[in-house]
Amino acid sequence: MSNSNFTRRGVLKTGTIAGAGLALPTYLSAASHAGFTNAPTGDTVTLGFNVPQSGPYADEGADELRAFELAVEHLNGEGDGGMLSTFSSKVLDGTGILGKKVNFVTGDTQTKSDAARASAKSMIEKDGAIMISGGSSSGVAVAVQGLCQEAGVIFMAGLTHSNDTTGKDKKANGFRHFFNAYMSAAALAPVLEQLYGTDRRAYHLTADYTWGWTQEESIAAATEALGWDTVEKVRTPLAATDFSSYIAPVLNSGADVLVLNHYGGNMVNSLTNAVQFGLREKQANGKNFEIVVPLYSELMAKGAGKNIAGIVGSQNWDWKLENEKGDRYTGTNAFVKSFGEKYGFPPSQAAQTCYAQTLLYADAVTRAGSFNPCAVVEALEGFEFDGLGNGPTLYRAGDHQCFKDVVVVRGKENPENEFDLVEIVEVTPTEQVTYPVDHPMFSGGALGSCNPGA
């Protein structure tokens, strides 16, 4: 026989104490993350990937999304691990981030600032995203970076090349791995001098928005320093599709170089039009007429077809880097293998920067031991790393810009296959593309202080 002491009051009392005791670790754990926006409380953490899934950069966005998915797979211990094995920081072990499984949500920027802000806001407010990444337009990147600063989440920019992203519009919560227009100009100038000499007259056609303006300014400054004259700078509407009216005045302008500060569909169309008007065969001032496209991607080269042959430009990264330039660019082959086996083609530079940004964020959280944006900012500022395909790289504390080598490329004359559209002409070392934080092209804004949000 047993003598039971259970009473209704006793059960309630015991239950309350036991419940409080069981809840205590959870409460303490929540407290350790409290005080910032979307502090993860369960066993998962959500990242938000905001890319153009419609609109003119949708193919670029699709490639970014593929890279994000691959990065999440690798962070969660799936697949072959990609660049986790080559990354110089060894804190990521394939168990998610701080032991939490990584989930992600996606948004469609439509390559429009307002749509991009709306989708980022939705991912932060409704889906609880603690970090936003993605891009393909500097206008979009600047807008979303501002939103993330206000909301108190980290923004790991994808493809954005305007000086303003880490210049006058820089924000403490924003970080850019991709290179910028100044770096393109600094890398291209010596190659242009070597290929085309110092006595040249350049005509600029420029997309009329933040990226185009800063690229035009950077390239004009760099080429004028070589001794080139700038004959004309003509702004073209972003919505333009037929550039014949803008190309025609180039013919008799006295210029012998055309610089196309265009990206995406703009560049494909303006380059096609320039070639149609015979600029590649033209002689001017006793020299061969040349066309320069300071920034282009593999996807744009594919769109331009044969017209890209011989055109010099710059890239943040190229999938052939490690094979052609050696171990300095370790990580490249690991990423190409993972990406290529999963999707059947090599990754673009947009994919590489997005993959790297996701790993860099996860690494910073792990090293900081916290998802708190201010802890992440502290972990990323001044962080030196290697093994993500670009060689030794620094995340500069003063402006949150990555400093690394820049790849100068040229459209291949006789590509062997559809993936072999550009050849690497030179890799410009980091020192040559580095500039002071207070450089005039980047002045006018302040980084401010990190915002942890709620």
């Binding site: 419609s54 003119p56 950069y57 919505a239 096609t272 008007f277 594919k302 296959n417």
Partner: protein, 343 residues
């Protein structure tokens, strides 16, 4: 002077595309009374007919070549187009090279069929609905069509070259007494202008000199009376919808080498083409053609640096400014008829 001539040629070229699209729009509006916002999408589908034929002609047998490797280090896959295997390398290569002109033949039945399906399947249900409803449904259809194309072909522009013989440019200036290299103009753009002139001429001749055309013109003027004479005018108007779709499609096919086709190209032309129709006069076929060339030429001149130095940004607004002036001065447009879109 050379710049003026160059921009005039550019204007004719732009005007050709505007005129061809506006001609089709006006045919549909004049016959069926429908404001078809999906017409730009038909232009885009035409361009993708060229892309599709190019892809069909380059369908290939794939053989692994152990002496070469792909980007992952696996044996490379070498592709040989079937047409080269069947007809020999030279004939096969020529067929692929001429894929855009060949696509004219490919596109005509496809575009006519699309026009028929659009008209019978959707647009006929909106004949008696207000113009706002017609605009909404056709605009929605345009978005659906472009998203379908994007799903199949991606968002990246797809290079679709002119035949080798028409690539590059020629010295137009020498032909008219200028110094060599003063006026260089691309071959294919001249071909496009000539093609547009032929199509426009053919449409006018068809309407002017055939019995079918005469009935259609009579129906455009007074549909009820033609109907009372026992003529099935609806069937003829459906055929005209198919012809209008084919005109837009052919304009797109031949435009493919000028700018690489992308799924959004129809929308880029749509708004301007509507301005052209309104400026020309709703329902007026000669008005649409005249306004197309006029606005194309004005747009080209407004892009000149000398003009932009006087009025910055004029290149982006010139068409709309001129449209406002013309509509204020002539509310029915340049050649508009009384009673069209009027109560």
């Amino acid at each position: 002077m050379d710049q003026i001539i160059l921009q005039f040629l550019n204007g004719l070229d732009k005007g050709s595309a505007y005129a061809l699209i506006a001609l089709g729009l006006t045919l549909i509006f004049g016959t069926l009374g429908v404001v078809n916002f999906a017409h730009g999408a038909l232009f885009m589908i035409g361009a993708f007919c060229a892309v599709t034929l190019q892809r069909i002609l380059t369908l290939s047998t794939i053989v692994e070549d152990p002496t070469k490797t792909d980007f992952l280090g696996n044996p490379a896959k070498i592709s040989t187009p079937y047409v080269e295997s069947w007809f020999g390398p030279e004939v096969g290569a020529t067929l692929i090279d001429w894929s855009v002109p060949l696509a004219i033949l490919f596109a005509i039945p496809i575009m006519v069929a699309i026009g028929f399906i659009m008209e019978r399947g959707l647009i006929k249900h909106f004949y008696k609905r207000p113009h706002a409803d017609q605009i909404l449904v056709t605009f929605g259809l345009a978005i659906v069509l472009q998203e379908v194309i994007k799903a199949f072909y991606g968002a990246n522009p797809i290079p679709t070259g002119a035949p080798e013989a028409f690539r590059g440019s020629f010295d137009f200036g020498v032909l008219i007494g200028f110094d060599p290299n003063a006026i260089i103009y691309p071959y294919w753009r001249m071909v496009y202008f000539a093609f547009a002139a032929v199509i426009i001429g053919a449409v006018f001749a068809f309407l002017q000199f055939t019995t079918f055309g005469m009935v259609v013109r009579a129906g455009m003027a007074d549909r009820e009376t033609v109907g009372l004479l026992g003529i099935n005018i609806d069937r003829r108007f459906t055929i005209m919808f198919g012809i209008a779709a084919a005109v837009a499609g052919l304009a797109g096919v031949m435009y493919a080498p000028i700018n690489s086709p992308n799924y959004h190209m129809g929308m880029d032309f749509l708004v301007l083409s509507f301005v052209v129709v309104v400026v020309g006069g709703m329902g007026s076929l000669p008005g649409a053609v005249l306004a197309g060339f006029l606005l194309g030429i004005l747009e080209a001149f407004a892009s000149m640096n000398e003009v932009k130095a006087i009025v910055p940004g004029i290149d982006q607004i010139i068409i709309y400014v001129v449209a406002i002036i013309i509509i204020l001065a002539r509310p029915r447009g340049l050649m508009g008829r009384r009673g069209v879109m009027e109560e």
